[in-house]
Subunit: 307 residues, 4 copies
Amino acid sequence: MSTPFDYQALLDETLREEKKYGERGQVASYIPELRKADPNMAGIALMTTRGIFTAGDTAVNFTLQSISKVLTLLLALEHRGVEAVFAKVGSEPTGDSFNSIVKLETSEQKPLNPMINAGAIAVCSLLPGQSVEERFGLIADLLEKILGRPVQIDESVYRSEKETGHRNRALAHFLKDIHALEGDVEEVLDLYFRQCSILVNCADLARIGMFLAAKGINEAGKPIVSANAVRLVSTFMVTCGMYNGSGEFAIKVGIPAKSGVAGGILGVVPGRYGVATYGPALDRKGNSVVGISMLRRLSQVLDLSIF
Amino acid sequence: MSTPFDYQALLDETLREEKKYGERGQVASYIPELRKADPNMAGIALMTTRGIFTAGDTAVNFTLQSISKVLTLLLALEHRGVEAVFAKVGSEPTGDSFNSIVKLETSEQKPLNPMINAGAIAVCSLLPGQSVEERFGLIADLLEKILGRPVQIDESVYRSEKETGHRNRALAHFLKDIHALEGDVEEVLDLYFRQCSILVNCADLARIGMFLAAKGINEAGKPIVSANAVRLVSTFMVTCGMYNGSGEFAIKVGIPAKSGVAGGILGVVPGRYGVATYGPALDRKGNSVVGISMLRRLSQVLDLSIF
Amino acid sequence: MSTPFDYQALLDETLREEKKYGERGQVASYIPELRKADPNMAGIALMTTRGIFTAGDTAVNFTLQSISKVLTLLLALEHRGVEAVFAKVGSEPTGDSFNSIVKLETSEQKPLNPMINAGAIAVCSLLPGQSVEERFGLIADLLEKILGRPVQIDESVYRSEKETGHRNRALAHFLKDIHALEGDVEEVLDLYFRQCSILVNCADLARIGMFLAAKGINEAGKPIVSANAVRLVSTFMVTCGMYNGSGEFAIKVGIPAKSGVAGGILGVVPGRYGVATYGPALDRKGNSVVGISMLRRLSQVLDLSIF
Amino acid sequence: MSTPFDYQALLDETLREEKKYGERGQVASYIPELRKADPNMAGIALMTTRGIFTAGDTAVNFTLQSISKVLTLLLALEHRGVEAVFAKVGSEPTGDSFNSIVKLETSEQKPLNPMINAGAIAVCSLLPGQSVEERFGLIADLLEKILGRPVQIDESVYRSEKETGHRNRALAHFLKDIHALEGDVEEVLDLYFRQCSILVNCADLARIGMFLAAKGINEAGKPIVSANAVRLVSTFMVTCGMYNGSGEFAIKVGIPAKSGVAGGILGVVPGRYGVATYGPALDRKGNSVVGISMLRRLSQVLDLSIF
């Protein structure tokens, strides 16, 4: 009988070897609250069919930020259907930074994809509900079904983004102008800022990754979202999940993944693992430096690339 | 003794010959209220030292729209000084349309000039005052000193712009993000929408033109603003006053001018005339078609080009 | 014992059902020679471990065009190494059309990826050799090892591109200016125009697809290029292989693929199939309309998506 | 009887006070030959009806570079007519740098104006003649009529530009692709590189300025080009003559002017003066730092602004 693979040793080694690269990055500064993060934090979590393995700072809470785009896209696809969603948002990578507004003016009157801020805000506006609370309830409920526990938001990050999110406001009003945003701009932004402020830890992200790796079935074995919605979302995670660093990530790591500027990366290894990293020091494109380093090593050792 | 030049005959002929070109344009549609204008309207007014001459629809009221940018720039230069103004706004033509946002992202962190919407909104934010009312009072007061009568705004246009001005809101929030807008975004926009909604007629515009032609001295002979501020504003009217049609206008007409999407054009012939046209049918760049036609003819006959 | 899957019936049905969509496209017009293609042509070929299956116009010769980018990238990676290649070309999708020059000026001094024209020309310049003939020999030799037969170019297409390829010349000289092109511009272009003019048919493309699906091992069982080079190239085929339609293709079809403006599409189903289509009527982004339709159906029936 | 104005004292003082600002600039580096210029050189020349006044390095020869665009535009307007010229080139300032290619792709299929490199190359292609020599003869002949002496080119600068002008080659091939360049690309570029390499000194430039100030009449009193062509060219000098620093120059100096990257600036004070400066240290936009400083002072003292 073969010895089961020692995931714990692999994670420990990965953390030990790659942690130092965090020095090459910088903590996000454009939201005042995010500047407070400790740039030396690093953690990695791997959810397998044998359970979860972790190394480093995997119990530290941080905010989802752009990783939340995965959840709203899943919900929009489920509640509004594929056609309604793609009437408001495109499906092409942009080559521009996550908060760029240029292509909104020079392209075909809708944001290029749902993983850049403009596209995610458009998708947010598609969630059904009479109020921001009701819509946010859909997101919280989805996460609760995945994680098996209630979620909450970081109030100070939420308020910080709401007060200083001028660029996102610019994007949202531009979207309104080109008819790519439904409803009231401030309400949609409120929902967007809330979802960005949801608190998770690295282990939570690995569970979300496993949920997607299992095509939408949660740990209790219950189907929560359709396999087709998961497939679409995973595709976007590959082509645009790491902002304008997605192409390089595809080559170096090769798994569906989504990063957030608070330092988290959510990874999916279809049919096998959920994987996640935490490290708030970011590269110029907004992705966790140590996160990418750790995932790259893991991908090589475990042969994770889908390509 | 020589017979004085027959300005009236010239204006009558100009209107008669050029009026038909209005058919080539279209009334502005992006503000719902503006769509109601009659595209066949046309008027021209020439203010000379011998008094004012008019032909056509020169008593019809319309809103200043972008022509108001001339007034706020004058006020900002007078109240804040040249350096403070150019710390927030550049001085280069853009080659892009009046409401473009692209250059805000790709250029040096401030709007390229005070005649495009982004730049004018930034300039608006520089006017001193404790409230929107107080700041608007400065603009109204300046106009009153020029025209010799109180001014009012078109309430329905103002409300229409305030409700539907999504693109301008996008610009203003973007400016806030790059620190090119002082104060509260909605207050600045409120001021901007108000100044755009000031009601004038074609004859009023000719009087404003004469005020600038006289280097800031009003009809009563009183200096209202400094000659230097007038010189700066006139320069911008040449390089950027007709949006991304300024270069062609300089070649064809050759005078400092500023157009508005309600159909007015304000023209300055330094030391000689104020000239103005009205015609709500616009070309693709947002300039009055019949207005440009009439000014071109007038420029040839009276040799108005400064070049 | 189970009946083997009836691939032939599937291809026949696919062709019959999807062929009509060719009407929605237009034959490429920017190279005069390509305009002569018959827009109603359509063919599909599937290379399996049981042999090759075809339906429609799969014996018609056409030129590789952009599909050749796959071959030169493989060769550049093998001969020059990963680092040398990515010193001259990036790895990000662009969101712009295949012949766009804008990003060369606004981005980081190298073409964004090796699948757009600019990037492919830069990659071309990396092939070793003393002359264009010698370098082209590398490409011809690689194809010969894959297809088991010598290849030739379409002389009239080659000359047509060489004479009228002004846009590609502009790209190449711009690359020279930013030090992203090695050697003589005209020689590099000559090589590029030759590789674009290589004649293949749809069945050939399916064999190339199978070669990549087998990680670089040809039909004779011989390793021709390294598995790592194949993995990198396959990744680029997913993120940028269908120009600025790659994101949508990933969602709808979900396999590594590369299109050419002569109407071919080369598809790879890792470990399973090589698949290819022909149909010279293109959509606005330069991809074969009927090709995408047929591949979409095939992907659904055979569950080909890697996502 | 009043004492005539002491121009010599003014020029001497101007040079003395402003010369130091040359330190803020850098000699052009993109053409290898230009790097050899002495960054501390500075000269100013003023051509008046009383003769020419000079101070500093006004006898040093340098190449016309972009200043030559003024001459070819004059010739194209004279030989081909206004309509033919503006069919190939626009009339709007761009806000982009002199060698930018972006707008060629994003705008309306022709270069935005004849003062940027792309536009000037397009204008070059419009000169009549059977050969490059014949066309260049037109330019040389025009200059000879203005300066009263034969001109020659700097062979090493010419060869240097011809060998390393990759960006200009990219522009020219792009122009060919969009049908904005007539004839053979390399021949047009040859002509463009030759005109850029014509040798002048600062005093020559002041004479050219006076020729334009006199609406096309040379020192011998002979009309060489039409007043209308001069008016058009002067207008472009105001709106685009100083690259993307034209707006600021209009505000600070306010005269038609054209700069070249070898360090010259040609200025026109309509009806009064020709003025020119030399100083090879350039600002980021490609304009002579000390040249702008000196012209600004002169403009203030002599009240030269046309605005």
